[in-house]
């Protein structure tokens, strides 16, 4: 098992009347790449700022290596941040920016020199020591911001939507760069994003958040394949989420039809949310024992088609590499193991937490 590095204990934070975080519990392990994922306003940035020391939680504790650091100001935490808009010092050149933290720490010039060389190599910007940071491109500025943070050998690196200001191609590049830097340095990365694709492709673990609550913590495969609730299912990837009733173990009833599934442990006659991924659905000839519907809309995406099929008054989203004609009659079939059953929120409070 990996060693714990930082732990958030029952963190709550509100700004005025607005509760941004509530009952947040999270353990982050050494060297992992963990992503806080959620829509804007879900509290992910506030959580990052609490870890960084820029915000103080209203209640709860931040434990670093067994020590309570809740009250510690940012300059005394072994944590560095890469800000969304890089926040480089415009009155300093590249090397002065990178050396900032080391000079504050009173390191000798020889050590600083070797650290600058190491960091610039790590971010593939060797030879740019004397460049004016304001003349660099967005991607280069972002790399300098990473280098500036990493030279201080933080135990944890916080990244606040660092790729959102970059164009698509650069963003893709930087994704693998960041993962590589995480592996090479062994620094724990806490990455904040609202982009599920980024989260899925980069992370060891993903923390899905909504409205100040953690919805699910798991590996990218877990949150994609086994979402714990309808919010997670809907937020990560595309989903068909249908009201269903659990008949008994491994049998669910949707649109009046019983269908085999693999989930167990729900009480009989329990109302549930049923999730089926659009890529898991197969369209075929209409038949007696399948869901039949009519193709309403077809959108070609290059790699695949998005097909909207209306059946039983529900609009199914289907992804297929084969196109269909609008108005065509089709059947909808899916395998039992592609069905994900999620319990519905029990109380109103939980409902708010999920905001489906």
């Amino acid at each position: 098992m990996k060693r714990e590095t930082i732990r958030l204990e029952n963190i709550a934070k509100s700004f005025g009347k607005l509760t941004v975080l509530d009952e947040v519990e999270l353990t982050i392990y050494e060297s992992e790449f963990i992503t806080l994922l959620g829509p804007s306003g879900c509290g992910k940035t506030t959580m990052l700022r609490i870890i960084g020391g820029f915000e103080r939680p209203d209640s709860g504790r931040v434990i670093f290596n067994g020590r309570d650091i809740t009250e510690l100001p940012p300059n005394r935490r072994p944590i560095n941040t890469v800000f969304q808009k890089y926040s480089l010092f415009s009155h300093m050149n590249v090397e002065e920016n990178i050396a900032f933290g080391l000079r504050i720490a009173g390191k000798d010039e020889g050590y600083i020199r070797s650290k600058i060389n190491y960091a610039l190599k790590l971010v593939n910007l060797e030879g740019s020591e004397k460049y004016d940071v304001t003349k660099l491109s967005g991607g280069q500025q972002q790399r300098i911001a990473i280098a500036r943070a990493i030279v201080n050998e933080p135990k944890i690196l916080l990244l606040d939507e660092p790729l959102s200001a970059l164009d698509l191609k650069l963003r893709r590049n930087m994704r693998s760069e960041l993962v590589r830097i995480n592996r090479e340095t062994g620094i724990t990365f806490v990455f904040v994003t609202h982009d599920q694709e980024e989260a899925l492709s980069m992370s060891d673990r993903i923390v899905v958040m909504n409205q100040g609550y953690i919805q699910q913590i798991g590996t990218p495969e877990q949150v994609y394949n086994e979402p714990e609730n309808a919010f997670v299912a809907d937020f990560i990837g595309d989903s068909n989420i249908i009201d269903g009733i659990m008949v008994r173990d491994k049998l669910v009833k949707i649109f009046g039809r019983e269908h085999a599934c693999e989930d167990t442990g729900f009480p009989p006659e329990c109302p549930v949310d049923v999730q089926i991924r659009p890529e898991d659905i197969t369209l075929g000839e209409p038949s007696e024992d399948s869901f039949n519907g009519i193709v309403k809309k077809v959108v070609f995406w290059g790699m695949s088609y998005d097909i909207i099929v209306e059946a039983d008054g529900f609009e199914w989203l289907v992804q297929s590499i084969h196109g269909r004609e609008v108005g065509e009659e089709v059947s909808i079939t899916f395998d039992p193991y592609n069905i994900q059953i999620m319990s519905k929120p029990q109380s109103e409070d939980e409902e708010a937490a999920q905001d489906v």
Binding site: G52, N75, F83, S87, F89, S90, H91, I104, A149, N152
Partner: protein, 276 residues
């Protein structure tokens, strides 16, 4: 903006006329007086005059007092502007209004008010006596003049400084803190250099009027402390010698031009940073 050069010239005319009549002609007259003696012959005597003892003393006193009040304004303005640019918005409107308000009042009136406060039997001493404290003899001292200058010119320091401080992204300050800098280190290494252009234009806007004032020194210096502004005023108004007055004015102008050159230098180096 304008379609033809002719149009542009037409719109420029009023300003050019104004500048010609009220700036260039007077400047030329001043230069004429400064470089001639009473019989109209060319001379440099009016300039060397500035190194004569009483004049030189007035000039040095002016520079010293202007410097002192500029530094005091700077020291007062920085913490104030840092507080104003920090979060609390509603506070900032009230406080900045308080600083702009004195600008709407005539500076002569403001200075006369200070005279009333600092006088021998003025408000300040009456208050001191009420608390059985010894009198403060401030009127007619350099201190009184500095108080008057600081009071009159502080808003001119606060405004440019506030503008340049509010332009600094809060995340930059957080980045410095994140990299281990304490509050003081953040100020010296990040906030100060980034706000320097504002500070420099503030310094100019305080130093030049402080250097050339004669109203403040006349009212709060009681005619005993002569600043270069008072000397020049006397040369002209009391009718001693217009040639001498013009020469001294030209010398004062050298200080102003040097100061403005420094400001311009900082302004251009600032713009390069802004460009991106």
């Amino acid at each position: 903006m304008f379609r033809t050069a002719g149009m542009r010239n037409l719109f420029m005319t009023p300003f050019c006329l104004w500048a010609g009549i009220f700036i260039f002609v007077p400047l030329f007259c001043m230069a004429w007086y400064a470089f001639t003696d009473e019989s109209g012959f060319f001379t440099l005597e009016n300039f060397t005059l500035a190194f004569d003892r009483p004049y030189f003393k007035a000039l040095m006193l002016s520079v010293a007092l202007a410097l002192a009040s500029t530094i005091i304004c700077l020291i007062l303005a920085y913490p104030l502007c840092l507080i104003l640019t920090d979060k609390a918005r509603d506070l900032s409107t009230i406080v900045s209004l308080l600083f702009i308000l004195p600008l709407w009042m005539n500076s002569l009136l403001l200075t006369m008010a200070w005279q009333t406060i600092l006088e021998k039997n003025g408000i300040l001493n009456q208050m001191l006596r009420y608390f059985s404290l010894p009198d403060a003899n401030l009127i007619n001292t350099p201190t009184a003049i500095i108080i008057g200058m600081v009071y009159n010119f502080l808003p001119y320091m606060v405004l440019p400084l506030y503008v340049s401080l509010s332009k600094i992204d809060k995340r930059i300050i957080e980045a410095a803190r994140d990299l281990g800098a304490s509050y003081m280190q953040t100020f010296w290494k990040v906030i100060l250099p980034l706000s320097l252009p504002g500070a420099v234009s503030g310094i100019t806007m305080v130093f030049i009027p402080a250097l050339t004032t004669f109203v403040i020194s006349a009212l709060l210096g009681g005619g005993k402390l002569l600043l270069i502004g008072n000397v020049i005023e006397q040369e002209f108004v009391a009718g001693y010698n217009w040639h001498w007055g013009a020469g001294l004015s030209m010398i004062l102008m050298i200080f102003i031009v040097v100061n403005m050159a420094v400001t311009a230098f900082f302004d251009t180096s600032h713009e390069e940073v802004e460009e991106k």
